[in-house]
């Protein structure tokens, strides 16, 4: 595999220069620009200040915005996330950094029973404008408690929005939209993509509305719906499929809620075949939900059942040959797509 993967340009405003940024750099830019724009935006998390997190993604922010707005917390995820909920209700727009998405398990009460429900329970009187940034993704040999992709959990809960970007362009635009949104948003960042995925990002301010899918590659024969790190996998599979005469479309929903059902259904009505691929668990997960949306919406145009590929239903193992067997690959997608197209 190459060290970095190039991503196609987003729909950039015409006449502007596009720079190449990594996924991590795009996230840092979004944070810096929003903190400059709005003094109510603060960033809380473990080792977010001088260290800039273990992934170095937020490095430099404390120098610009100071220790009151870029705050190193104790290792108290439930406490500082709940504190952010209270601060969001009362005038700040906090961003909480959850170093490993696995630690969502530690904050779920604050997210699910508090943040998600406060607007509704108060009859619309209180708002909780906050962003929970969490990482996801396996294959770093980080084992069972540092490798999970748990974006299905918040997607299940009314009151939360969930973004799961795959490119630097999308990450920046979605994160800016999330910070400006008046609802609690869980924002998932793939750890491997931070340094590995590179792509063009325009210089000037832009936001990508939550709930708008993006067609990453147009095609006729089969739709590959893919999220986060799996978008690169789907694009790789699409290139392999092209060689045997199968023209695949790759659609990235970009947010799991709100979900752009229309774009997904329209793509499959055109191609008549669909595989949904996601790095979260296969059972009771994102792939199941999206597959059912498509099965209902594109039923009369489908050639066969919507298929899906997700993480194997096991805790993520440490040993490289075992871990590699748990994550969907280009080859898995290629084989399944080929079979569905009878080639």
């Amino acid at each position: 595999m190459p060290d970095t993967v190039a991503t196609g340009p987003g729909p950039a405003p015409s006449g502007t220069a596009l720079r190449e940024l990594t996924f991590g750099e795009a996230i840092r830019e979004a944070l810096a620009e929003e903190m400059r724009r709005d003094p109510r935006v603060v960033l809380l998390g473990e080792d977010v200040a001088e260290a800039g997190t273990p992934f170095k993604v937020v490095k430099g922010l404390v120098e610009e915005f100071g220790k009151d707005r870029v705050v190193d917390t104790p290792i108290s995820e439930a406490g500082f996330t709940g504190l952010a909920v209270g601060a969001a209700m009362t005038g700040l727009r906090p961003i909480v950094d959850i170093m490993f998405g696995d630690f969502l398990a530690l904050i779920m009460d604050q997210v699910v029973n508090q943040a998600a429900k406060i607007h509704y329970m108060s009859g619309g009187k209180w708002k909780v404008p906050m962003v929970i940034r969490a990482t996801m993704g396996a294959t770093r040999r980080s084992a069972a408690q540092h490798s999970q992709s748990l974006h299905a959990w918040p997607s299940h809960v009314p009151g939360l929005k969930v973004a799961i970007p795959s490119t630097p362009y999308d990450a920046k635009g979605l994160l800016k939209a999330a910070i400006r949104d008046d609802n609690p948003i869980v924002f998932f960042e793939d750890k491997i993509s931070y340094a590995k995925v590179k792509g063009p990002v325009p210089d000037e301010d832009y936001v990508i509305p939550l709930g708008v899918a993006d067609i990453k590659r147009e095609g006729r024969d089969i739709t590959l719906v893919a999220t986060s790190s799996m978008v690169q996998v789907a694009l790789g599979a699409a290139a392999m499929l092209e060689e045997i005469g199968i023209n695949a479309e790759v659609v990235d929903p970009r947010t799991t809620w709100p979900l752009d059902e229309k774009t997904l259904i329209e793509s499959v009505r055109k191609t008549s075949r669909c595989i949904v691929v996601d790095e979260g668990y296969y059972r009771y997960g994102i792939t199941g939900e999206i597959a059912s949306v498509i099965a209902e919406g594109a039923f009369y145009d489908l050639d066969g059942p919507v298929r899906r590929i997700g993480a194997r239903h096991v805790p993520v193992p440490f040993s490289p040959p075992l871990e590699d067997a748990t994550v969907p690959t280009e080859r898995d997608l290629f084989t399944m797509a080929r079979q569905m197209c009878n080639k």
Binding site: Q145, F318, L322
Partner: protein, 330 residues
């Protein structure tokens, strides 16, 4: 499959000063080999070294019975070894091999071994607090007289579950000891920036006896741990040890440029003046319990054991990917 080397026996007895020296040098030499494997890209994942903190694990585990329990942390190799784990099976786990303690499924941060009472290392900070308390509860209900020790870094003082656990333990007089290893840093942040008040005021609030111990002095650690363990085994309830110590290396092996959070002179001071292995060696010689030749012999023997253990692990096969689905359910 390669054959298992025998753990070296040097004829030193449990709980004795010479045995504690042997155990500390074993951890030191184990970790040096981990560092070497990792920097040569032969070990996947992350490696959090225990170098500098050896007296804590050894002083405490030498006060325990074989059937007593421990819970460990992301920086857990020292705890595992001190509780009696075999280095070759640990290295095999660190390299993701089938022969490892967890068949390669756990790795460095998850070594577990029921045979030595090791409930498991844990990659969730504070993740062992309730588990150790539960083991103490089971020991009490089952009338086994076993004690559980919960090792944790001072970073876990930030986790609420620790306080819920201490409250339960004291209410129910459970035989559990909370061993807080204060190495001064939570990852890249000094603990004083994340910890309000006095660490030992926390157990005091629940009525747990707490002792603050020089964690570089293995004999002091052993003496304090022995008092707490005896008390817990008698049925007098939980205790808390605050062990002041220092990690000599980075938070993990790759944490090299660390002057922005930890000054070099501080590191040099601890390494030159407060090395637990060197301090204990000097004491053994000054008390006439060993001479340098004897210490050298022990070190050589342990080094050979560790080299054989590494070789065993390197030669051991990876698990068959087909086995990935095994062990999800009992």
């Amino acid at each position: 499959m390669a054959t298992a080397p025998n753990p070296a026996t040097t004829g030193v007895e449990a709980g004795t000063p010479l045995r504690m020296y042997r155990q500390m040098i074993a951890i030191r030499l184990f970790e040096e080999r981990v560092n070497d494997l990792y920097t040569r890209a032969l070990m996947p994942g992350l490696a959090h070294l225990y170098i500098g903190e050896e007296a804590v694990a050894v002083g405490i585990c030498e006060a325990l019975r074989a059937d007593d329990y421990i819970t460990s942390t992301h920086r857990g190799h020292g705890h595992c070894l001190a509780k009696g784990a075999a280095p070759h099976l640990m290295f095999a786990e660190l390299l993701g091999k089938e022969a490892g303690y967890c068949k390669g499924k756990g790795g460095s941060m998850h070594i577990a071994d029921p045979a030595t009472g090791n409930l498991g290392a844990n990659a969730i900070v504070g993740g062992g607090a309730a588990l150790a308390t539960g083991a103490a509860y089971a020991s009490k209900v089952l009338g086994q007289g076993r004690v559980a020790v919960c090792f944790f870094g001072e970073g876990a003082l930030g986790q609420g579950v620790l306080y819920e656990s201490m409250n339960l333990a004291q209410l129910w007089k459970l035989p559990v000891i909370y061993a807080c290893e204060n190495n001064l840093y939570n990852e890249y942040t000094h603990y004083s920036e994340t910890t309000a008040g006095d660490p030992v005021a926390r157990p005091a609030a629940f009525g747990l006896p707490a002792e603050t111990v020089d964690g570089q002095d293995v004999r002091a650690v052993h003496a304090a741990a022995s008092r707490m363990v005896e008390r817990a085994r008698r049925g007098d309830g939980p205790g808390f040890l605050l062990l002041n110590t220092y990690r000599f290396r980075g938070h993990h092996v790759g944490d090299i440029a660390r002057e922005y959070y930890r000054p070099k002179h501080e590191e040099q001071h601890w390494m030159a003046e407060r090395d637990p292995v060197a301090l204990h060696a000097a004491w053994l010689v000054s008390e006439g319990l060993a001479d340098q030749a004897m210490l050298d012999r022990i070190e050589k023997e342990v080094a050979a054991e560790m080299d054989a253990a590494v070789e065993f692990a390197q030669n051991a096969p990876y698990p068959d990917p087909q086995r990935v689905d095994e062990d999800v359910y009992a």
